[in-house]
Symmetry: C2
Subunit: 258 residues, 2 copies
């Protein structure tokens, strides 16, 4: 007897975002779907968790399709924790997060709520994928993304992922016929050069808006930024062991204890 | 002519926390200190940044010592971005975050606001260290930490750190005489097994508090958890390239494009 895979779906743009609606549609073709997603947008939340306030989780019906859905007052990482411990009655076979409205390539993985949900599932030992489309608009066109979301998810359901590894998938904002395929990549070196927009409140107090320019510092053809600029879907295997293992030996020569 | 190092200090427990006051005291012995720290506690914020609201930064005087201090309405990562772009007139020689009230060893690095500030400085190419004491209490005793904070910071000022690497330092909650020394470590495999405390509001609505049990899955003698359990200060070199480089070759055999 084979049973259908159980798939936990979440995101950071909120349960009503078009990106997660598309993701649910595709996952319904692959298994039994349970959605636990934030009740409001949580972009830029990084790996935040809610320690000092209460969490509400509520059964909701967003459309008339067969998935079970829960709306949660917390962050994406909270949604995964609550989904696994309180909502689901067995460990899911896959956790997918997204489809994010906007890129999570290169250094953006660090700031991303979408990826924090996938990382949280990875920490729990669940195969996990974060999906993002390179179009931040609410009415972005997710139709070309569907094909790639489905095939990558099928591969992960089939092959599994080693403990401690999950996938960060970014999809170019192009019609399907113009996407050249899928490339396995490393995270490009890049950063945001902030330009704070300084203003004065009606009460005369200075305040700032965080804005910035994205700067790619790395033009390697094995990077996610290269793949996306050349019309490929980028797939980066991500780990949450942040140890810079290659620097341990050097640090040991610093003579801290003598 | 040599000038004194410029040191940016921040944390996630808020500008008035005893941990950052101790850190400032030690940094005043090493250079010119500028503090940009959250105006209220930000624990568990992970690498959150403020994208959808305004940021306030205000000159404050917390004690009568010589450092310049600014209180900020944002997250620890916001504080570092604002410090570098708006407050300081040159790039700091060192950024230190903490001393956190509570451990940021092993997987806690992922959830930690203290470490997100250090990582943000690392992304900006600034040598950075996050310090944490294994005592979450507000009135924790930071006196033994001072010696190690000073010697590790001096080493980083002297040797620098390679681009893309920062340090995660955890200090046992012991008198200085009982601390055996400093150990360079890797991040232990560990996770939190959540136990959601489910309650009912006076209005009859279910809600949860996030609580949990910390489980160490890895007893390697080269880990931070081992070092701390054996009365050593742990120093883990941390990187923000999350690519699981060793899994790229395997993923390429999955046949995504054919």
């Amino acid at each position: 007897m084979t049973r259908k895979p159980l798939i936990l779906v979440t995101n950071d743009d909120g349960i009503n975002a078009p990106g997660i609606r598309t993701l649910i549609e595709v996952m319904n073709e692959l298994g039994d779907v349970v959605v636990v997603a934030p009740d409001s947008p949580q972009s830029g939340m990084g790996h935040a968790i809610t320690l000092d306030s209460t969490l509400f989780v509520e059964r909701v019906i967003v459309d008339n399709v067969k998935q079970l859905e829960y709306s949660c007052s917390g962050t994406p990482a909270d949604c995964v924790k609550l989904g696994i411990r309180e909502v689901l009655d067995r460990t899911p076979d896959l956790c997918v997060s997204g489809i994010n409205h906007g890129s999570n390539s290169s250094i953006n993985v660090i700031y991303s709520g979408t990826m924090s949900a996938a990382i949280e599932a990875g920490i729990e030992g669940i195969p996990a994928i974060g999906f993002s489309l390179l179009d931040y608009k609410w009415n972005a066109d997710f139709s070309a993304a569907k094909h790639f979301v489905k095939s990558i998810s099928e591969q992960v359901l089939k092959n599994g992922l080693p403990n401690g590894i999950l996938l960060n998938v970014n999809i170019p904002n192009l019609p399907e016929k113009d996407i050249k395929g899928i490339k396995i990549c490393r995270q490009a070196k890049a950063n945001w050069v902030e330009e704070f927009d300084k203003r004065k409140s009606p009460q005369g107090k200075d305040y700032y808006w965080l804005t910035g320019k994205f700067v790619i510092l790395d033009h390697g053809e094995d990077t996610d930024e290269w793949a996306l600029a050349h019309n490929y879907v980028s797939v980066v295997p991500v780990q949450f062991d942040l140890t810079a293992h290659h620097f341990i030996q050097n640090l040991n020569t610093w003579g801290f204890n003598g």
